[in-house]
Subunit: 324 residues, 2 copies
């Protein structure tokens, strides 16, 4: 007898990740399709439904064994109504009824949530969360996203805007402009984009020298990965940039922890691939700024699921919704 | 037929507040007794039990109509076990089994919680919360406390240390020492003690002049209330101090809201009696530093219950526990 599967979907601006996941959270099959933003985004859910049917046929697996479809989407989602409030780059008009559309086209129970929240749920279920029911996840990518989980459930917020950790103001006076319209957000220093900006500013200074400066002179640009690599090699300018990033990140996370005292804070996203050099420095700043009882009980950890966190967390939505 | 009552208790270092509260949250009778810290605090719960019995006899009310006793205590509480972890000034040894002691002596179902959390629950139930199930309360008193409520329940944290809003670091570099052992905590600028410290520093500057300086010269001291009164009267030094306090408070609350997007943030405690001048300035800073979706949905409000918040929130614990 074949086991029950959940379809997990992680919708991105250019690519949609899909996976069949069992009730234990293991990915059995995963694949990707392009995201079709044309025609006001009306092909997006249809393509997902078709792709799932095709994959089931290809695997010769009965659709009756698929219990539901969970999906993460890049924008604020009202979990209760399943409506995605507003989203850039996908073509949908405001308040698109995403869950209803998925249910209609797949004929399956559906659940939708913000993608950063799905990543947080994924890490809680199968990743660095390791059973913690109270955790905060920070996604350090092109931007900085986040998800707050309390008692095993995502904290949604009054306007679906809980977890906007990237928009914590860390430089109230002389901060760089953020895409959100404010200045000095955490995202302006701790995202890949922010790290590149800090590094580019540093190497441009007349007194700067060293490997990072040479690399910039050669390539005309620097990546966030190169900054961490050079810092690991002892380059002074790179170390200075990493220290600034980790200072703001550690202070912000300590202040979040002073408020929520979560069991774990998980660092994910592309920037977190820097690994120990990032974690160690963030931890030092975290310890310095966390209240003693918090310092002793809230643990920082690197995400372990990588790009799979989103589809796994999306599948968890169905496991949770259907109480499986 | 007489209605059901709950006993609500707010334990302080010198005074214990008690009240009989009905299931609608209304205080029917309230009184106070001294807190007896002698004998390792072993008289505290006995005195409470005796006082409740005496008051019932005085009112000629049947004890069978008292459904339970809820209590707020000044220290970290493990809500599930009812143990108070450690507490200064009450005489109890670490890990005192507070709920068990109350149940044994009163023969009633009991529930215990941290006092700042009780105040938050009180404001949620009968005060400024006005039905909001997701709110953050900040108590601006001698220190700065806080309570975070998500989905109608207190966020406890891994070590009972959630809600330590007073220990958010607002001055990472040149902050004043805090009682918690860190430096530059919100408490060092936004508590009554912190406001007095800031004001005293300002008036001591050689170039300072005005009413606040004259008041300090006359009395040898300044109170937080006087700082707000003088600011309302247009005194420059007082306005400068209020601006600094409200800047740090508004920025910290905006960053909490960027993380949690609560429906309401309630300002309580003695300092909040400053009223509109405080709320307006905190709001201005909050709006400046909150993410747009948060700014538009998280509302700041002054607490409305004053000193009654604690006993009302303590009674709510029983209403919630017994599902009344």
């Amino acid at each position: 007898m074949s086991e029950k599967w959940i379809a997990g979907v992680d919708l991105g601006g250019t690519t949609t990740k899909l996976a069949f996941i069992n009730l234990q959270g293991n990915i059995l099959h995963k694949w990707e399709i392009p995201t079709d933003n044309s025609n006001e985004g009306l092909n997006i859910t249809k393509n997902i439904a078709d792709s799932i049917n095709e994959k089931l046929a290809e695997l010769n697996y009965p659709k009756t064994k698929l219990v539901g479809i969970g999906m993460g989407a890049p924008g604020p989602v009202d979990y209760k109504t399943g409506v995605i409030l507003n989203v850039v780059n996908l073509g949908w008009k405001d308040n698109f009824p995403l869950r209803a559309s998925l249910e209609e086209l797949t004929l399956l129970p559906a659940a939708v949530e913000n993608d950063a929240n799905c990543a947080a749920l994924g890490e809680m279920w199968m990743g660095a969360g390791e059973g913690a029911r109270n955790l905060v996840c920070v996604t350090l990518g092109t931007g900085v996203g986040g998800g707050v989980i309390s008692g095993g459930s995502i904290v949604q917020g009054a306007n679906g805007a809980a977890g906007e950790i990237g928009h914590i103001t860390v430089k109230p006076f002389d901060g760089a402009p953020c895409n959100c319209g404010k200045k000095g957000c955490l995202e302006t220093v701790a995202s890949a984009t922010g790290i590149v900006r800090l590094a580019t500013t540093e190497v441009a200074k007349q007194e700067s020298s060293g490997k990072l400066v040479e690399l910039f002179a050669k390539n005309g640009k620097i990546t966030a990965k190169e900054v961490f690599d050079m810092a690991r090699d002892g380059d002074e300018i790179a170390i200075k940039v990493v220290n600034e990033v980790c200072f703001h990140l550690g202070l912000s996370l300590a202040n979040i922890a002073n408020t929520l005292n979560p069991e774990k804070i998980v660092l994910g996203g592309g920037v977190s691939k820097a690994g120990e050099i990032l974690l160690k420095s963030v931890n030092e700043n975290f310890s310095r700024f966390a209240f003693s009882a918090v310092r002793n009980s809230t643990e920082l950890a690197l995400a372990t699921l990588g790009n799979d966190a989103g589809v796994i967390g999306a599948a968890w939505l169905i496991k949770d919704k259907l109480k499986l």
